[in-house]
Symmetry: C2
Subunit: 269 residues, 2 copies
Protein backbone atom coordinates (compact mmCIF):
# COMPACT_ATOMS: atom_id res chain seq x y z
CA UNK A 1 0.00 0.00 0.00
CA UNK A 2 1.01 3.62 -0.49
CA UNK A 3 0.62 6.48 1.97
CA UNK A 4 -1.80 9.37 1.58
CA UNK A 5 0.22 12.47 0.71
CA UNK A 6 -0.79 16.13 0.86
CA UNK A 7 0.89 18.51 -1.55
CA UNK A 8 0.84 22.26 -0.97
CA UNK A 9 -0.23 24.62 -3.73
CA UNK A 10 -0.45 28.39 -3.28
CA UNK A 11 0.35 27.90 0.38
CA UNK A 12 -2.43 25.42 1.16
CA UNK A 13 -2.40 21.60 1.47
CA UNK A 14 -5.30 21.20 -0.92
CA UNK A 15 -3.93 18.42 -3.15
CA UNK A 16 -4.29 14.93 -1.67
CA UNK A 17 -2.83 11.88 -3.44
CA UNK A 18 -3.52 8.28 -2.50
CA UNK A 19 -4.90 4.92 -3.56
CA UNK A 20 -8.41 3.72 -2.75
CA UNK A 21 -9.11 6.80 -0.63
CA UNK A 22 -12.87 6.96 -1.24
CA UNK A 23 -13.83 7.49 2.38
CA UNK A 24 -11.04 10.02 2.91
CA UNK A 25 -12.33 12.04 -0.07
CA UNK A 26 -15.89 11.93 1.25
CA UNK A 27 -14.83 12.95 4.78
CA UNK A 28 -12.62 15.76 3.48
CA UNK A 29 -15.45 17.24 1.44
CA UNK A 30 -18.11 16.90 4.10
CA UNK A 31 -15.94 18.07 7.01
CA UNK A 32 -13.88 20.80 5.32
CA UNK A 33 -16.45 22.12 2.82
CA UNK A 34 -19.60 22.27 4.91
CA UNK A 35 -22.64 23.02 2.78
CA UNK A 36 -26.38 22.56 2.53
CA UNK A 37 -25.96 21.33 -1.06
CA UNK A 38 -23.33 19.17 -2.74
CA UNK A 39 -23.55 18.58 -6.50
CA UNK A 40 -21.59 15.74 -8.10
CA UNK A 41 -21.07 16.49 -11.80
CA UNK A 42 -19.48 13.93 -14.13
CA UNK A 43 -19.87 12.55 -17.62
CA UNK A 44 -21.91 9.48 -18.50
CA UNK A 45 -18.73 7.42 -19.06
CA UNK A 46 -17.48 7.96 -15.51
CA UNK A 47 -20.99 7.11 -14.29
CA UNK A 48 -20.43 3.53 -15.53
CA UNK A 49 -17.34 2.97 -13.39
CA UNK A 50 -18.10 0.82 -10.33
CA UNK A 51 -15.76 2.90 -8.14
CA UNK A 52 -17.79 6.01 -9.06
CA UNK A 53 -20.98 4.32 -7.98
CA UNK A 54 -19.35 3.25 -4.72
CA UNK A 55 -18.19 6.82 -4.16
CA UNK A 56 -21.71 8.21 -4.63
CA UNK A 57 -23.22 5.56 -2.35
CA UNK A 58 -20.59 6.25 0.30
CA UNK A 59 -21.23 9.97 -0.01
CA UNK A 60 -24.95 9.49 0.52
CA UNK A 61 -24.30 7.36 3.61
CA UNK A 62 -21.97 9.99 5.10
CA UNK A 63 -24.17 12.99 4.22
CA UNK A 64 -25.29 14.98 7.28
CA UNK A 65 -29.05 15.25 7.80
CA UNK A 66 -29.11 18.97 7.02
CA UNK A 67 -27.38 18.53 3.64
CA UNK A 68 -28.51 17.19 0.28
CA UNK A 69 -26.65 15.61 -2.62
CA UNK A 70 -27.55 16.41 -6.23
CA UNK A 71 -26.19 14.47 -9.20
CA UNK A 72 -25.82 15.72 -12.76
CA UNK A 73 -24.26 13.91 -15.73
CA UNK A 74 -23.19 15.47 -19.03
CA UNK A 75 -22.35 13.83 -22.34
CA UNK A 76 -18.68 12.84 -22.59
CA UNK A 77 -16.03 14.25 -24.89
CA UNK A 78 -14.35 17.49 -25.88
CA UNK A 79 -17.23 18.28 -28.29
CA UNK A 80 -19.47 18.86 -25.27
CA UNK A 81 -17.05 21.20 -23.47
CA UNK A 82 -19.10 24.17 -24.65
CA UNK A 83 -20.83 27.31 -23.45
CA UNK A 84 -24.13 25.52 -24.18
CA UNK A 85 -23.35 22.64 -21.80
CA UNK A 86 -22.25 25.18 -19.19
CA UNK A 87 -25.59 26.99 -19.55
CA UNK A 88 -27.54 23.77 -19.13
CA UNK A 89 -25.65 22.96 -15.93
CA UNK A 90 -26.24 26.51 -14.63
CA UNK A 91 -29.95 26.25 -15.36
CA UNK A 92 -30.07 22.90 -13.58
CA UNK A 93 -28.35 24.39 -10.50
CA UNK A 94 -30.72 27.38 -10.53
CA UNK A 95 -33.87 25.28 -10.87
CA UNK A 96 -32.63 23.13 -7.97
CA UNK A 97 -32.32 26.25 -5.82
CA UNK A 98 -28.55 26.12 -5.46
CA UNK A 99 -27.04 29.16 -3.74
CA UNK A 100 -23.62 30.61 -2.99
CA UNK A 101 -22.93 27.94 -0.34
CA UNK A 102 -23.22 25.10 -2.89
CA UNK A 103 -20.17 22.86 -3.30
CA UNK A 104 -19.61 21.46 -6.79
CA UNK A 105 -17.73 18.14 -7.04
CA UNK A 106 -16.27 17.58 -10.51
CA UNK A 107 -15.44 13.91 -11.15
CA UNK A 108 -13.77 13.12 -14.46
CA UNK A 109 -10.97 13.86 -16.87
CA UNK A 110 -9.75 17.18 -18.17
CA UNK A 111 -12.93 18.03 -20.06
CA UNK A 112 -15.07 17.69 -16.94
CA UNK A 113 -12.51 19.39 -14.70
CA UNK A 114 -12.08 22.39 -16.99
CA UNK A 115 -15.77 22.87 -17.71
CA UNK A 116 -17.17 22.20 -14.23
CA UNK A 117 -14.46 24.38 -12.70
CA UNK A 118 -15.61 27.16 -15.03
CA UNK A 119 -19.26 26.59 -14.06
CA UNK A 120 -18.26 26.92 -10.39
CA UNK A 121 -16.23 30.07 -11.06
CA UNK A 122 -19.22 32.00 -12.45
CA UNK A 123 -22.20 30.52 -10.59
CA UNK A 124 -23.43 33.31 -8.26
CA UNK A 125 -20.03 34.95 -8.91
CA UNK A 126 -18.19 31.85 -7.72
CA UNK A 127 -18.88 28.79 -5.57
CA UNK A 128 -16.52 26.20 -4.11
CA UNK A 129 -15.41 23.33 -6.33
CA UNK A 130 -13.64 20.06 -5.48
CA UNK A 131 -11.73 18.45 -8.33
CA UNK A 132 -11.59 14.64 -8.44
CA UNK A 133 -9.53 13.82 -11.55
CA UNK A 134 -10.09 10.31 -12.91
CA UNK A 135 -7.70 10.24 -15.87
CA UNK A 136 -3.93 10.13 -15.54
CA UNK A 137 -3.61 13.32 -17.60
CA UNK A 138 -6.03 15.26 -15.42
CA UNK A 139 -4.36 13.95 -12.26
CA UNK A 140 -0.91 15.15 -13.23
CA UNK A 141 -1.78 18.24 -15.25
CA UNK A 142 -5.19 19.77 -15.88
CA UNK A 143 -6.58 19.55 -12.34
CA UNK A 144 -3.59 21.52 -10.99
CA UNK A 145 -3.42 25.32 -11.17
CA UNK A 146 -7.04 26.42 -11.36
CA UNK A 147 -7.24 26.83 -15.14
CA UNK A 148 -10.85 26.40 -16.23
CA UNK A 149 -12.46 26.92 -19.64
CA UNK A 150 -14.83 25.85 -22.36
CA UNK A 151 -14.24 25.64 -26.09
CA UNK A 152 -15.97 27.68 -28.79
CA UNK A 153 -16.18 26.98 -32.52
CA UNK A 154 -13.40 29.57 -32.88
CA UNK A 155 -10.93 27.74 -30.66
CA UNK A 156 -10.21 25.68 -27.58
CA UNK A 157 -10.18 27.13 -24.04
CA UNK A 158 -10.75 30.72 -25.20
CA UNK A 159 -13.49 31.41 -22.65
CA UNK A 160 -12.70 30.60 -19.03
CA UNK A 161 -11.42 31.72 -15.67
CA UNK A 162 -8.75 31.01 -13.08
CA UNK A 163 -10.55 29.38 -10.18
CA UNK A 164 -8.72 27.49 -7.46
CA UNK A 165 -10.51 24.37 -6.24
CA UNK A 166 -11.03 23.90 -2.50
CA UNK A 167 -9.45 20.46 -2.92
CA UNK A 168 -7.89 18.34 -5.66
CA UNK A 169 -8.39 14.73 -4.55
CA UNK A 170 -6.25 12.35 -6.59
CA UNK A 171 -7.15 8.69 -6.18
CA UNK A 172 -5.02 6.37 -8.31
CA UNK A 173 -7.74 3.73 -8.02
CA UNK A 174 -9.52 5.44 -10.97
CA UNK A 175 -6.76 4.25 -13.30
CA UNK A 176 -8.14 0.72 -13.08
CA UNK A 177 -10.88 1.63 -15.49
CA UNK A 178 -9.00 4.07 -17.70
CA UNK A 179 -8.96 3.23 -21.44
CA UNK A 180 -5.46 2.36 -22.68
CA UNK A 181 -5.34 5.37 -25.00
CA UNK A 182 -5.96 7.73 -22.09
CA UNK A 183 -3.37 6.02 -19.93
CA UNK A 184 -0.79 6.59 -22.65
CA UNK A 185 -1.83 10.26 -23.06
CA UNK A 186 -1.30 10.81 -19.37
CA UNK A 187 2.00 8.97 -19.38
CA UNK A 188 3.24 11.32 -22.11
CA UNK A 189 2.65 14.25 -19.75
CA UNK A 190 4.41 12.43 -16.90
CA UNK A 191 7.39 11.71 -19.16
CA UNK A 192 7.52 15.36 -20.27
CA UNK A 193 7.47 16.60 -16.69
CA UNK A 194 10.06 14.08 -15.50
CA UNK A 195 12.24 14.82 -18.50
CA UNK A 196 12.35 18.55 -17.70
CA UNK A 197 12.44 18.46 -13.91
CA UNK A 198 13.66 15.26 -12.44
CA UNK A 199 16.35 12.88 -13.65
CA UNK A 200 15.61 10.13 -11.11
CA UNK A 201 11.90 10.05 -11.99
CA UNK A 202 12.86 9.89 -15.63
CA UNK A 203 15.12 6.93 -14.78
CA UNK A 204 12.26 5.22 -12.97
CA UNK A 205 10.09 5.65 -16.06
CA UNK A 206 12.73 4.29 -18.39
CA UNK A 207 13.45 1.22 -16.29
CA UNK A 208 9.76 0.45 -15.76
CA UNK A 209 8.38 1.31 -19.18
CA UNK A 210 7.88 -2.34 -20.12
CA UNK A 211 6.09 -3.13 -16.87
CA UNK A 212 3.68 -0.23 -17.39
CA UNK A 213 2.93 -1.14 -20.98
CA UNK A 214 2.55 -4.86 -20.23
CA UNK A 215 0.07 -4.24 -17.47
CA UNK A 216 -1.93 -1.69 -19.43
CA UNK A 217 -1.92 -3.88 -22.55
CA UNK A 218 -3.14 -6.81 -20.50
CA UNK A 219 -6.02 -4.92 -18.92
CA UNK A 220 -9.09 -7.12 -18.83
CA UNK A 221 -12.43 -5.99 -20.14
CA UNK A 222 -15.03 -6.76 -17.52
CA UNK A 223 -18.79 -6.45 -17.55
CA UNK A 224 -20.44 -4.31 -14.91
CA UNK A 225 -24.14 -3.70 -14.53
CA UNK A 226 -25.22 -0.14 -13.91
CA UNK A 227 -27.36 -0.10 -10.79
CA UNK A 228 -29.19 3.03 -11.91
CA UNK A 229 -30.00 2.25 -15.53
CA UNK A 230 -29.80 -1.54 -15.32
CA UNK A 231 -27.66 -1.66 -18.46
CA UNK A 232 -24.53 -3.78 -18.73
CA UNK A 233 -21.33 -1.85 -19.52
CA UNK A 234 -17.92 -3.06 -20.59
CA UNK A 235 -15.16 -1.57 -18.51
CA UNK A 236 -11.39 -1.84 -18.83
CA UNK A 237 -9.86 -3.31 -15.69
CA UNK A 238 -6.16 -2.71 -15.25
CA UNK A 239 -4.32 -4.27 -12.35
CA UNK A 240 -3.16 -0.95 -10.96
CA UNK A 241 -1.93 -2.54 -7.74
CA UNK A 242 0.77 -4.38 -9.67
CA UNK A 243 2.37 -1.10 -10.70
CA UNK A 244 1.03 0.95 -7.83
CA UNK A 245 4.25 2.04 -6.19
CA UNK A 246 5.78 3.28 -9.44
CA UNK A 247 2.61 5.00 -10.62
CA UNK A 248 2.07 6.61 -7.25
CA UNK A 249 5.57 8.07 -7.18
CA UNK A 250 5.32 9.34 -10.73
CA UNK A 251 1.93 10.96 -10.16
CA UNK A 252 3.10 12.45 -6.88
CA UNK A 253 6.28 13.84 -8.40
CA UNK A 254 4.47 15.29 -11.44
CA UNK A 255 1.92 17.01 -9.21
CA UNK A 256 4.67 18.35 -6.93
CA UNK A 257 6.39 19.94 -9.92
CA UNK A 258 3.17 21.48 -11.28
CA UNK A 259 2.09 22.74 -7.86
CA UNK A 260 5.49 24.30 -7.30
CA UNK A 261 5.41 26.03 -10.70
CA UNK A 262 1.89 27.39 -10.10
CA UNK A 263 2.83 28.62 -6.62
CA UNK A 264 6.03 30.26 -7.91
CA UNK A 265 4.13 32.00 -10.73
CA UNK A 266 1.70 33.40 -8.17
CA UNK A 267 4.53 34.72 -5.97
CA UNK A 268 6.08 36.49 -8.93
CA UNK A 269 2.87 38.07 -10.21
CA UNK B 1 -14.70 74.01 -12.30
CA UNK B 2 -14.02 71.04 -10.07
CA UNK B 3 -10.73 69.25 -9.49
CA UNK B 4 -9.90 65.76 -10.75
CA UNK B 5 -9.87 63.43 -7.75
CA UNK B 6 -8.42 59.95 -7.42
CA UNK B 7 -10.07 57.58 -4.96
CA UNK B 8 -8.27 54.47 -3.72
CA UNK B 9 -9.97 51.09 -3.81
CA UNK B 10 -8.26 47.86 -2.72
CA UNK B 11 -5.07 49.85 -2.24
CA UNK B 12 -4.89 51.35 -5.74
CA UNK B 13 -5.87 54.81 -7.04
CA UNK B 14 -7.96 53.36 -9.83
CA UNK B 15 -11.12 55.47 -9.48
CA UNK B 16 -10.85 58.93 -11.06
CA UNK B 17 -13.67 61.48 -10.71
CA UNK B 18 -13.90 64.74 -12.64
CA UNK B 19 -15.89 66.83 -15.07
CA UNK B 20 -15.19 67.00 -18.79
CA UNK B 21 -12.09 64.80 -18.44
CA UNK B 22 -12.25 63.20 -21.88
CA UNK B 23 -8.57 63.66 -22.67
CA UNK B 24 -7.51 62.57 -19.20
CA UNK B 25 -9.50 59.34 -19.64
CA UNK B 26 -7.94 58.71 -23.04
CA UNK B 27 -4.40 59.39 -21.77
CA UNK B 28 -4.91 57.21 -18.70
CA UNK B 29 -6.05 54.25 -20.78
CA UNK B 30 -3.39 54.60 -23.46
CA UNK B 31 -0.50 55.30 -21.07
CA UNK B 32 -1.38 53.02 -18.17
CA UNK B 33 -3.03 50.13 -20.05
CA UNK B 34 -0.70 49.68 -22.99
CA UNK B 35 -2.13 47.27 -25.54
CA UNK B 36 -2.15 46.32 -29.20
CA UNK B 37 -5.96 46.29 -29.17
CA UNK B 38 -8.52 48.49 -27.42
CA UNK B 39 -12.21 47.63 -27.75
CA UNK B 40 -14.86 50.20 -26.85
CA UNK B 41 -18.13 48.44 -26.02
CA UNK B 42 -21.34 50.40 -25.36
CA UNK B 43 -25.03 50.26 -26.14
CA UNK B 44 -26.68 51.99 -29.10
CA UNK B 45 -28.20 54.66 -26.82
CA UNK B 46 -24.83 55.82 -25.54
CA UNK B 47 -23.62 55.83 -29.15
CA UNK B 48 -26.02 58.74 -29.83
CA UNK B 49 -24.50 61.00 -27.19
CA UNK B 50 -22.26 63.69 -28.73
CA UNK B 51 -19.77 63.42 -25.85
CA UNK B 52 -19.40 59.69 -26.66
CA UNK B 53 -18.62 60.47 -30.27
CA UNK B 54 -16.07 63.09 -29.19
CA UNK B 55 -14.48 60.54 -26.86
CA UNK B 56 -14.11 57.99 -29.67
CA UNK B 57 -12.71 60.60 -32.06
CA UNK B 58 -10.26 61.77 -29.41
CA UNK B 59 -9.23 58.21 -28.70
CA UNK B 60 -8.52 57.56 -32.37
CA UNK B 61 -6.40 60.72 -32.56
CA UNK B 62 -4.36 59.69 -29.51
CA UNK B 63 -3.98 56.04 -30.51
CA UNK B 64 -0.33 54.97 -30.94
CA UNK B 65 0.61 53.67 -34.37
CA UNK B 66 1.14 50.12 -33.13
CA UNK B 67 -2.35 49.91 -31.59
CA UNK B 68 -5.82 49.53 -33.01
CA UNK B 69 -9.26 50.54 -31.77
CA UNK B 70 -12.27 48.27 -32.25
CA UNK B 71 -15.85 49.40 -31.57
CA UNK B 72 -18.80 47.20 -30.71
CA UNK B 73 -22.34 48.27 -29.82
CA UNK B 74 -25.05 46.12 -28.21
CA UNK B 75 -28.77 46.69 -27.89
CA UNK B 76 -29.70 48.68 -24.80
CA UNK B 77 -31.65 47.53 -21.77
CA UNK B 78 -31.68 44.90 -19.05
CA UNK B 79 -33.38 42.42 -21.41
CA UNK B 80 -30.11 42.23 -23.37
CA UNK B 81 -27.91 41.60 -20.33
CA UNK B 82 -27.80 37.91 -21.19
CA UNK B 83 -25.46 34.99 -21.76
CA UNK B 84 -26.41 35.20 -25.44
CA UNK B 85 -25.22 38.82 -25.77
CA UNK B 86 -22.03 37.87 -23.92
CA UNK B 87 -21.44 35.05 -26.41
CA UNK B 88 -21.92 37.35 -29.38
CA UNK B 89 -19.38 39.81 -27.96
CA UNK B 90 -16.93 36.95 -27.31
CA UNK B 91 -17.33 35.69 -30.86
CA UNK B 92 -16.76 39.21 -32.17
CA UNK B 93 -13.56 39.54 -30.11
CA UNK B 94 -12.34 36.13 -31.30
CA UNK B 95 -13.04 36.79 -34.98
CA UNK B 96 -11.16 40.10 -34.64
CA UNK B 97 -8.15 38.21 -33.30
CA UNK B 98 -8.23 39.71 -29.81
CA UNK B 99 -5.75 38.15 -27.39
CA UNK B 100 -4.90 38.27 -23.70
CA UNK B 101 -3.39 41.76 -24.04
CA UNK B 102 -6.68 43.27 -25.26
CA UNK B 103 -8.13 46.12 -23.16
CA UNK B 104 -11.93 46.32 -23.03
CA UNK B 105 -13.45 49.76 -22.44
CA UNK B 106 -17.05 49.55 -21.17
CA UNK B 107 -18.95 52.81 -21.65
CA UNK B 108 -22.48 52.94 -20.28
CA UNK B 109 -24.78 52.38 -17.35
CA UNK B 110 -25.02 49.41 -15.01
CA UNK B 111 -26.18 46.94 -17.65
CA UNK B 112 -23.15 47.62 -19.84
CA UNK B 113 -20.75 47.77 -16.90
CA UNK B 114 -21.93 44.47 -15.40
CA UNK B 115 -22.09 42.58 -18.69
CA UNK B 116 -18.90 43.90 -20.30
CA UNK B 117 -17.02 43.44 -17.03
CA UNK B 118 -18.14 39.80 -17.11
CA UNK B 119 -17.06 39.43 -20.75
CA UNK B 120 -13.61 40.74 -19.78
CA UNK B 121 -13.40 38.41 -16.76
CA UNK B 122 -13.75 35.24 -18.85
CA UNK B 123 -12.20 36.20 -22.20
CA UNK B 124 -8.97 34.15 -22.45
CA UNK B 125 -9.37 33.62 -18.66
CA UNK B 126 -9.47 37.37 -18.07
CA UNK B 127 -8.40 40.56 -19.82
CA UNK B 128 -8.14 44.14 -18.55
CA UNK B 129 -11.29 46.24 -18.46
CA UNK B 130 -11.76 49.99 -17.97
CA UNK B 131 -15.17 51.05 -16.67
CA UNK B 132 -16.56 54.39 -17.85
CA UNK B 133 -19.94 54.73 -16.14
CA UNK B 134 -22.34 57.15 -17.85
CA UNK B 135 -25.38 56.99 -15.55
CA UNK B 136 -25.48 58.46 -12.08
CA UNK B 137 -26.38 55.07 -10.60
CA UNK B 138 -23.47 53.30 -12.25
CA UNK B 139 -21.10 56.12 -11.21
CA UNK B 140 -21.95 55.86 -7.53
CA UNK B 141 -22.72 52.17 -7.23
CA UNK B 142 -22.46 49.47 -9.88
CA UNK B 143 -19.07 50.42 -11.34
CA UNK B 144 -17.45 50.16 -7.88
CA UNK B 145 -16.37 46.84 -6.41
CA UNK B 146 -15.82 44.59 -9.40
CA UNK B 147 -19.20 42.84 -9.37
CA UNK B 148 -19.99 41.62 -12.87
CA UNK B 149 -22.86 39.46 -14.11
CA UNK B 150 -25.52 38.65 -16.66
CA UNK B 151 -29.16 37.75 -16.08
CA UNK B 152 -30.82 34.43 -16.95
CA UNK B 153 -34.53 33.68 -17.30
CA UNK B 154 -34.30 32.22 -13.78
CA UNK B 155 -33.06 35.42 -12.15
CA UNK B 156 -30.93 38.54 -12.27
CA UNK B 157 -27.15 38.50 -11.80
CA UNK B 158 -26.99 34.77 -11.06
CA UNK B 159 -24.09 34.13 -13.46
CA UNK B 160 -21.05 36.37 -13.10
CA UNK B 161 -17.64 36.98 -11.56
CA UNK B 162 -15.72 39.38 -9.37
CA UNK B 163 -13.37 41.22 -11.69
CA UNK B 164 -11.63 44.44 -10.69
CA UNK B 165 -11.36 47.01 -13.49
CA UNK B 166 -7.97 48.54 -14.23
CA UNK B 167 -9.66 51.94 -13.94
CA UNK B 168 -13.09 53.36 -13.16
CA UNK B 169 -13.20 56.73 -14.92
CA UNK B 170 -16.13 58.82 -13.68
CA UNK B 171 -16.86 61.89 -15.81
CA UNK B 172 -19.85 63.89 -14.57
CA UNK B 173 -20.18 65.38 -18.05
CA UNK B 174 -22.20 62.28 -19.06
CA UNK B 175 -25.06 63.43 -16.83
CA UNK B 176 -25.89 66.16 -19.37
CA UNK B 177 -27.57 63.61 -21.57
CA UNK B 178 -29.02 61.33 -18.90
CA UNK B 179 -32.81 60.80 -19.06
CA UNK B 180 -34.61 62.30 -16.04
CA UNK B 181 -35.79 58.89 -14.84
CA UNK B 182 -32.22 57.62 -14.68
CA UNK B 183 -31.01 60.73 -12.88
CA UNK B 184 -33.64 60.15 -10.19
CA UNK B 185 -32.71 56.45 -9.89
CA UNK B 186 -29.12 57.43 -9.28
CA UNK B 187 -30.06 60.14 -6.82
CA UNK B 188 -31.99 57.54 -4.78
CA UNK B 189 -28.72 55.59 -4.37
CA UNK B 190 -26.83 58.77 -3.44
CA UNK B 191 -29.48 59.61 -0.83
CA UNK B 192 -29.34 56.07 0.58
CA UNK B 193 -25.56 56.22 0.89
CA UNK B 194 -25.54 59.71 2.42
CA UNK B 195 -28.32 58.75 4.79
CA UNK B 196 -26.35 55.78 6.15
CA UNK B 197 -22.85 57.19 6.12
CA UNK B 198 -22.64 60.94 6.14
CA UNK B 199 -24.85 63.50 7.85
CA UNK B 200 -23.30 66.54 6.16
CA UNK B 201 -23.78 65.08 2.67
CA UNK B 202 -27.34 64.27 3.58
CA UNK B 203 -27.78 67.92 4.66
CA UNK B 204 -26.36 69.09 1.34
CA UNK B 205 -28.88 66.92 -0.47
CA UNK B 206 -31.80 68.19 1.58
CA UNK B 207 -30.94 71.84 1.13
CA UNK B 208 -30.30 71.47 -2.60
CA UNK B 209 -33.07 69.06 -3.53
CA UNK B 210 -35.13 71.77 -5.23
CA UNK B 211 -32.17 73.01 -7.27
CA UNK B 212 -31.45 69.47 -8.49
CA UNK B 213 -35.02 68.77 -9.44
CA UNK B 214 -35.54 72.15 -11.10
CA UNK B 215 -32.50 71.78 -13.28
CA UNK B 216 -33.29 68.18 -14.22
CA UNK B 217 -36.94 69.01 -14.89
CA UNK B 218 -35.88 71.90 -17.11
CA UNK B 219 -33.47 69.84 -19.20
CA UNK B 220 -33.81 70.76 -22.85
CA UNK B 221 -34.33 68.19 -25.54
CA UNK B 222 -31.84 68.91 -28.30
CA UNK B 223 -31.39 67.38 -31.73
CA UNK B 224 -28.04 65.88 -32.58
CA UNK B 225 -27.10 64.26 -35.84
CA UNK B 226 -25.23 61.01 -35.63
CA UNK B 227 -22.07 61.34 -37.68
CA UNK B 228 -21.88 57.60 -38.30
CA UNK B 229 -25.44 56.76 -39.27
CA UNK B 230 -26.53 60.23 -40.40
CA UNK B 231 -29.72 59.92 -38.36
CA UNK B 232 -31.02 62.74 -36.15
CA UNK B 233 -31.45 61.82 -32.47
CA UNK B 234 -33.22 63.64 -29.67
CA UNK B 235 -31.03 63.97 -26.61
CA UNK B 236 -31.82 65.35 -23.15
CA UNK B 237 -29.50 68.24 -22.32
CA UNK B 238 -29.25 69.08 -18.64
CA UNK B 239 -27.24 72.09 -17.52
CA UNK B 240 -24.96 70.03 -15.32
CA UNK B 241 -22.58 72.95 -14.79
CA UNK B 242 -25.27 74.80 -12.84
CA UNK B 243 -25.31 72.09 -10.18
CA UNK B 244 -21.80 70.84 -10.78
CA UNK B 245 -20.22 71.53 -7.43
CA UNK B 246 -23.01 69.82 -5.48
CA UNK B 247 -23.23 66.85 -7.84
CA UNK B 248 -19.48 66.43 -7.86
CA UNK B 249 -19.27 66.35 -4.07
CA UNK B 250 -22.16 63.91 -3.78
CA UNK B 251 -20.75 61.57 -6.40
CA UNK B 252 -17.29 61.78 -4.86
CA UNK B 253 -18.57 61.10 -1.36
CA UNK B 254 -20.75 58.17 -2.48
CA UNK B 255 -17.85 56.58 -4.33
CA UNK B 256 -15.54 57.12 -1.34
CA UNK B 257 -17.98 55.26 0.89
CA UNK B 258 -18.43 52.37 -1.56
CA UNK B 259 -14.69 52.09 -2.20
CA UNK B 260 -13.98 52.03 1.53
CA UNK B 261 -16.61 49.32 2.12
CA UNK B 262 -15.22 47.15 -0.72
CA UNK B 263 -11.64 47.60 0.51
CA UNK B 264 -12.62 46.77 4.11
CA UNK B 265 -14.51 43.63 2.99
CA UNK B 266 -11.40 42.48 1.15
CA UNK B 267 -9.18 43.04 4.21
CA UNK B 268 -11.54 40.96 6.36
CA UNK B 269 -11.90 38.07 3.93
Amino acid sequence: MVPLEKIPILGKDTIHVGFNIKQHMIDTIINDCKSSTYVIINDTNVAKVPYFQEFVEGFELSLPEESRLLKYAVNPGEQNKTRETKERIEDYLLTQGCTRDTVVIAIGGGVIGDMIGFVASTFMRGVRVVQIPTSLLSMVDSSIGGKTAVDTPLGKNFIGAFWQPSFVLVDIKWLESLPKREFINGMAEVIKTACIWNASEFDRLESNADTFLDIVNNAKIIQVSNKVTGTVDHISNTNVELMLEHTYKLVLESIRVKAEVVSADERES
